[in-house]
C-alpha cells in the first residue's frame, strides 16, 4: 500500500479492504414493476416467447445488481438499462419449473437489490467504521448497514455451460453476476422444416448447490433449406459473487 491508509487481507492473502479502493454497499431493494408470462406458439413462424419480470431502482449509479436464489428456482438475467437519468430497469426470468420446451412455466417476482458506491450526500452512521483516502474522500463507509461482503467467488471457464458450484453456509445466498450464455439451436423436424430454439444461461440453486444451466426464451418454426444452418453458442466464462442476503432490506 501507499504510505497512507489501511489495507486488510483475508487468511489467503486476498485484499478485502483498502482505503485506496471504493467500498460498495447495498443501496436498497428494487421495486417490482412488470411481469408477463410466455406467449405465442412454438410451431408457428412468429413462435413462442418467454415471459419476464422487471424491476426498477432510482439512484445516480453506476450500479451492480444482486439477486436472490430461492431454493429450487431458476433465475436468469436478461437486461439492465438506465431507462432515464438515474432510473435503472432490471429484466429477469424467474420461476420454479420448466415446460416440455424448456420455458419457465410461470414467471414470478424475485427479490433484487442494488449495490453501488457511497453517495456523497449519504450521512455517516453513528456506529461502525469509516475510512478515507489520502485526498480526504470517504472510500469505505462501514457505518452503512449492508456493505458489500463477498463470501464466495464462482468461476467457470468459457464454453463449459453446465457447472455446479458449492455455496458457502449462508442463511440466504444471493448472487451478483449471472451466466452470460446463449444457445441458438437449429433442429430439422421435417422436409425443409426447422425449429429454432434460443436459450439463455440461468442459475438454479438446490440447497447448497448452485448450477448454471439453460432455459428457453424463444422458439419458432420455419421453412428453410434442407440442411440445417447449424447451431450457434456463445458461452462465456462465469465469474459471480455470493453474498449473505438474510440482512438485506
Amino acid at each position: 500500500m501507499s504510505n497512507y491508509g489501511l489495507e486488510i487481507r483475508n487468511p489467503t492473502g486476498q485484499l478485502v479492504l483498502s482505503s485506496a479502493a471504493r467500498g460498495l454497499y447495498c443501496l436498497g431493494k428494487a421495486s417490482q414493476y412488470f411481469i408477463n408470462q410466455s406467449s405465442g406458439t412454438s410451431g408457428t413462424f412468429t413462435g413462442k416467447d418467454s415471459g419476464v419480470t422487471k424491476y426498477r431502482f432510482t439512484t445516480p449509479g453506476p450500479i451492480i445488481v444482486a439477486i436472490d436464489l430461492p431454493d429450487g428456482h431458476y433465475v436468469g438475467a436478461i437486461d439492465l438499462v438506465e431507462i432515464s437519468t438515474g432510473v435503472w430497469e432490471i429484466t429477469l426470468v424467474h420461476g420454479t419449473s420448466l415446460d416440455s420446451e424448456g420455458f419457465i412455466t410461470t414467471q414470478s417476482y424475485v427479490d433484487v437489490w442494488v449495490y453501488g458506491v457511497v453517495p456523497g450526500s449519504t450521512p455517516l452512521g453513528s456506529y461502525g467504521l469509516a475510512i478515507y483516502n489520502a485526498a480526504g474522500d470517504l472510500t469505505w463507509d462501514l457505518t452503512q448497514p449492508n456493505p458489500l461482503f463477498i463470501q464466495k467467488v464462482l468461476t467457470a471457464a468459457a464454453g463449459v455451460g453446465f457447472s455446479t458450484f458449492t455455496l458457502p453456509a449462508l442463511s440466504r445466498p444471493v448472487v451478483i453476476g449471472f451466466p452470460y450464455m446463449y444457445q441458438y439451436l437449429d433442429e430439422r423436424i421435417g422436409a425443409n422444416t426447422h425449429h429454432i430454439t434460443v436459450t439463455r444461461g440461468v442459475f438454479k440453486r438446490t440447497g447448497s448447490s448452485l448450477e448454471s444451466t439453460f432455459v428457453t426464451t424463444h422458439k419458432h418454426q420455419f421453412f428453410g433449406p434442407e440442411d440445417p444452418v447449424g447451431n450457434t453458442t456463445d458461452i462465456n466464462p462465469i465469474m459471480s459473487m455470493i453474498v449473505e442476503g438474510a440482512n438485506l432490506p
Binding site: 500500500m1 486476498q14 478485502v16 453506476p62 451492480i64 439492465l80 458506491v117 453476476g177 462465456n236
Partner: protein
C-alpha cells in the same frame, strides 16, 4: 477469530469480517470505449490479481488482460464495444 477485522451494526449483526471476505476490493466503475483502454492503479500494491465485473447483470465483460507488476493494471482491447465495468483488486 484470531486476527483481522469484524464490523457489526448497531443491532449486533456482523456486516463485515475480513477472515470470511473474499473477491477483492472495488476500484471503481469505468466505461471502456470501443477503442479499448488501460487502467492502472498505482495506489494498490501487492495485489494478487484483479477481477472485472460488468455493471450489467451479466458476469462477462469480454476479453481483457490483468497484470500486477509493477502496478495492478487492466487492459481492454479494441473491439468496437463500449464496456461498462467495475474493477476489483484481489
Amino acid at each position: 477469530m484470531t486476527y483481522g477485522l469484524q464490523v457489526f451494526n448497531a443491532s449486533g449483526v456482523k456486516t463485515f469480517d475480513s477472515t470470511q471476505a473474499m473477491g477483492g476490493v472495488c476500484l471503481g466503475f469505468y466505461t471502456v470505449p470501443g477503442t479499448g483502454g488501460t487502467y492502472t492503479f498505482t495506489d494498490i500494491t501487492g495485489a494478487n490479481g484483479g477481477m472485472v465485473m460488468p455493471h450489467a447483470l451479466y458476469n462477462w465483460a469480454g476479453d481483457y488482460t490483468i497484470s500486477v507488476s509493477p502496478h495492478l493494471s487492466f487492459t481492454f482491447p479494441s473491439n468496437g464495444q463500449v464496456r461498462k465495468v467495475a474493477l476489483f483488486a484481489t
